[in-house]
Amino acid sequence: MVVIVEVMPKEGILDPQGVAVRNALHQLQYAEVQQVKVGKRIILELDTNDPVAAKSRAEEMAETLLANENVETFRVILPEEVSA
């Protein structure tokens, strides 16, 4: 099954990518854009069908390697939870 690890810059941490994208959008006349955050989505395909186990393993992977909690936050979601 597939689990998704979403990694975002922590609140309050300078996100120069987000600032650059916001500036570019302003230049394109999208004046309503207040803030942009750029993160990443890591899609893992695991050889299990147990969503609880899959999420708990993915969380462990995020803590160990996928995210740096000094400057990033992460959440683990299933594909059907994406809109949440």
């Binding site: 941490i13 300078l14 120069p16 000094n70």
Partner: protein
């Protein structure tokens, strides 16, 4: 004394480091491939710059789990000298041997320039031959050199005098105008509590020969040698 230069896939400043130890200092030096586990007989290990694992995920994040790293952490914990420059510094922060994280430069640009650094301490094995407040100019060449450490952790680092180098003006002033990349408190290099692990973004190894721009960086290597030959 015997030096090791750690090489990951994507490391590209390994020869610069090797050249300082082998040719300029005339010491026994060997490369350590990241799959090796045997660090016996080495006195000091340098982690050079580059783009280990293509900087995928985060700079240094994947290199940190290379087979050699377990041994390197043991080597560091035994009190022997570990010196990371640029990508090597990023690997040391990812591995937890040094605090902080190197974020993207605030300008979003790769910076390749000579930059003055102020030496903040002269009581370490890396800087004991420096003079108090010495300013050395060495190259910086990075895209992710923006040192970040949050609130309490930053205070702890400053309180224990863990900052060894700060970006400064040629006159030694530390302020926003002399900060190339947005690093908190102009931090360019930090040392661990035990004083045997140093990480820095600038490249002192590239200022060790008068033929290629000067010798401002040599004093670091001479300090390490002097300390080790006393021991």
């Amino acid at each position: 004394m015997k030096w090791g230069v750690l090489v990951f896939p994507g490391t590209n400043r390994d020869y610069d480091a090797y050249d300082v130890f082998a040719r300029i200092l005339g010491h026994d030096t060997r490369y350590i491939w990241h799959r090796e586990r045997d660090l016996d007989g080495l006195d000091a290990i340098m982690l050079p710059g580059g783009f280990s694992y293509g900087d995928y995920l985060r700079c240094g994040a994947i290199a940190r789990f290379s087979p050699v790293m377990e041994e390197l952490i043991r080597f560091a914990n035994s009190g022997r000298t570990v010196f990371g420059v640029c990508n090597g510094f990023q690997v040391l922060t990812e591995s937890g041997l040094l605090p902080g994280t190197l974020l993207r430069n605030r300008s979003l640009r790769f910076i390749n320039e000579d930059w003055p650094l102020r030496v903040e301490r002269t009581d370490t094995r890396f800087t004991h031959l420096c003079s108090e407040g010495q300013v050395m100019t060495v190259p910086i060449a990075h895209n992710e050199g923006n040192y970040f450490l949050g609130g309490d952790d930053l205070k702890r680092l400053e309180d224990r005098n863990g900052v060894l180098f700060r970006y400064c003006s040629p006159q030694g002033e530390v302020n926003d105008a002399s900060n190339p990349n947005g690093s908190v408190n102009n931090i360019a290099g930090v040392i661990n509590e035990a004083g045997n692990v140093l990480g820095m973004m600038p490249h002192p190894e590239n200022r060790t020969d008068p033929l290629i721009g000067g010798t401002d960086g040599l004093v670091l290597f001479e300090s390490m040698v002097a300390e080790l030959s006393q021991a």
